[in-house]
Symmetry: C2
Subunit: 244 residues, 2 copies
């Protein structure tokens, strides 16, 4: 934990307290003591510092001094629903990398039973998103939505869900551009589409193409979805931030 | 599995057979039948295709036609030993991304008990490396070495272990260059150093600096070691492969 993320409701007149897992981490791992300062943030709000005022009965009481709200993530992700085991590994990593919106969709090569899992329950994934934000010192919790029909999502809803200038779809092949350079320096937000393990099918690629998604690729290697998402998001952003 | 990787010894006159987990995957998941062709590779050797000649008693017999050896990975990784849970997740991902050599080292902020784990046993990690290669359709098994003393490793052994032109150390901060552009197009092999969760200490950074490691960064976010390794390797290679 590099920053303790507090729920808005937990903060009153600059005072808050850590409980449960956060308090245990502060007490047992960081070994905080009264008077010490730690990094804190408020969900979807500012970051700042907090002075430990009291430790009592497994609670760590804080007095917070908050500053600026970190910049909102500039990338959204359209992701064909991966198998539960893979998605479980992804939640914290996506939050740590910084994703504004995670749009999970069905696709031809997504197995139907992937939708029937507790890994898609906010009670399961929200703590993992918080964990990723606490690692990366961010406060912006990714918005998550789940869509069982690909075509109406792409045709009707995507423009509202993710308002971006640049739409990219990860798909290897001759007509794909390298991902570095695909999101030009100075460009506004982007939306990256990542397909299922077996890839997008022809219909899906055509529909995405008609809706302005340009094909990008990391190269010839086929990666597991979790590795691919991390690799693509990192390369995309590193390319945008690279010197001209 | 996008390619079945065979041990050299298993191949005789172009014939081989899949057994155990490989055979079960071929039979139960891919539902192969005699006459069908599948992608195969030989450990550290060529890739090619194999025709299924017979399926019997849980074995899949193959006749292989092998072609070229894929290019060897052009990046080595010097990694401060992560906690066992994190390293377990990394093995397959590193092999899938393509790493020539994985050099695991002690560092000031590595906990000593991280060395006492079955995750460092070749019997544990080799199947995970093979899994990553089968995913990425590569045959080059990363060479792994484990070093309990940082200074002699860097001063005496690193030049022999990893013969590269470009040495980079991931470390955020003002004096770090963006990782895209740090490994120029057309340059030969590179070695990337990734520190422990708490970062390299000043001594380690100075020693690496004296030995020609330039500082690079992915930006301001602090990532967990497994996410950081995947993100850094992907951005590094994507940057090298980007159009000028």
């Amino acid at each position: 934990v590099n920053l303790f993320l507090l729920e808005t409701a937990a903060l009153r007149d600059g005072c808050a307290s850590l409980e449960g897992a956060q308090a245990r981490h502060a007490i047992d791992v960081l070994r905080v003591s009264p008077g010490q300062e730690i990094r804190v943030g408020v969900v979807d709000g500012p970051t700042g510092t907090a002075r430990v005022t009291r430790i009592d009965a497994g609670r760590v009481e804080l007095h917070c001094t908050l500053g600026a709200v970190p910049p909102a993530p500039d990338v959204d992700l359209l992701l064909a629903l991966p198998r539960p085991k893979v998605l479980r590994r992804l939640w914290a990593q996506l939050a740590a990398l910084g994703v504004g919106r995670i749009i999970l969709t069905n696709a031809a090569r997504v197995e139907r039973n992937f939708f029937d899992t507790h890994v898609l329950d906010p009670a399961f994934y929200r703590p993992l998103l918080i964990e990723g934000l606490q690692q990366a010192q961010d406060t912006h919790v990714p918005r998550v939505s789940i869509h069982r029909r690909f075509r109406p999502l792409v045709e009707d809803d995507l423009g509202t869900l993710s308002q971006v200038e640049t739409r990219l779809v990860a798909h290897p092949g001759e007509d794909a551009s390298p991902i570095v350079g695909a999101w030009p320096r100075g460009a506004a937000r982007s939306l990256l589409a990542v397909g299922p393990e077996g890839g997008w099918d022809d219909f899906e690629l055509r529909l995405l193409g008609e809706r302005g998604f340009r094909r990008v690729s990391l190269g010839g290697r086929t990666l597991r979805t979790d590795t691919a998402c991390v690799a693509l998001l990192a390369a995309l952003r590193a390319g945008r931030d690279a010197p001209a």
